[in-house]
Amino acid sequence: MGELTAIGFRPGQSVLHRLDPRTKQMLLMGLSVASMWGNLTFLTLFTVVMMFCVSAAGLRIRRLILEIRYFLFFLCFVFGVRAIAFTGGWTPTLRADAAGEALIVCWRLLLVVIMGLLLMSTTRTADIRAALVWYLKPIPVVDEKMAATMVGLVVRFLPVILFQGAEIADAQRARGIERRRNPLIRLMRFTVPLFRRVFLSADELAAAMQARCYSEQRTLPELSFAWRDGLAIGVGILLSSTVLLP
């Protein structure tokens, strides 16, 4: 199960660890939006900054690639769809102009994902949740504390659900589920017990939270902006402004 959550919070004292989670979320949102219009200059500079951040956060590039391997396959698919055309029947041809554009799109997506992983690996989920409460507070229709608790629980329980799924799959393989040719039956045999276990766990979790006096009026982690947050936002603005360069 550890493999599923290798990119979780890793304690540390790097610059990224010490930034306020609100700053990190702001940079994530701002730079993600900026990257939609990002040209080659922006993307090159952004990549350099990201490489510095990955190194500062103590993440190993090899491990990072391993963690996002499925996403990399997805990017290859996106590249293929955008760059390869079928002209004159069933023969695929790579168009140079479309390939350039596809490469830029994939590059942008990759940088945004790396930014997200950096946020997760350098910020406790409790802090991410507290920052989320701070951002959602001015929105009148949203119950910010409930929303933040839900986000926290999803982060906490996703690995558990995946683990339970893997366990059920193993148990079914041990009883020869592969001999069933009908994929629909295999899917049903897998999903029904998985959902039952997930719902039972959710029920038990709700009872456990109640037993520990869960209420929405909770003490949240203390957040405070420091000079380094101003500096990081300044760097983010400078970086974003390069989208205006030719």
């Binding site: 550890g2 979780g8 906490r156 558990v160 038990e204 037993a211 520990r212 909770r218 003490t219």
Partner: protein, 249 residues
Amino acid sequence: MSIIETSHLYHRFADGTQGLDDVTLTFNEGEFTVVAGANGSGKTTLLRHINGLLFSESGTVTVCGKSVKADPFAARKQVGMVFQDADSQIVGETVYDDVAFGPENLSLERQQINQRVNQALAAVDLSGFENKMPHHLSGGEKRRLAIAGVLAMAPRVLMMDEPFSNLDYPATCRVLSTIIDLHKNGHTIIITTHDLEKVIAHAQRLVVMAKGRIVKDGMPAEVIGGIERYGIRSPCSVQLGRGIRPWVN
């Protein structure tokens, strides 16, 4: 001095099964009680009533003189409950976050929360684990983390539902010694189990349940004779005629 009282408690589940049937019990402060019974005898249902997670159709439960039905929040502050499945009880992403969950719900100041977290982790010998992810811990460590999560709320009573299930020998010993230490430090302990072997030598009272009823209640040495008829295995030392002996030294 009594701290928990149940009086003529009844509970029927949605499928018609009688979970509790006229349960009247008193737990005294500082007492170490084992509630034993076969699967489905009503042990967990009883704990859930005391913790205000279930409410009775008839009968009353009071904690420190206050009705649990009227103020479940107050009951939960006084009575901490450790669930059988530690995985479903642990809600934090790190050990610190999980232990801090209870005190945060009590809206304590951050400094006080940190103090309570440190004390609770020290009490279960998990100091230094603050930044570890709970699902990377061993079964025994998870169980002790679940106990720490409850201890951080500073309850007067600790209720544990099958605290030794799925634990290996060393982990069982660690959890057991943690429980014994907590009792020595003045906590009231209530443990439910179907396996008396590990814990009975340390208990001052044994309550036996069957089909939702209290069938025996008293000092362990007096109650343990013929306990097999309720689906509970007698400790080996009792079967060998040596009386109740501690499972660990």
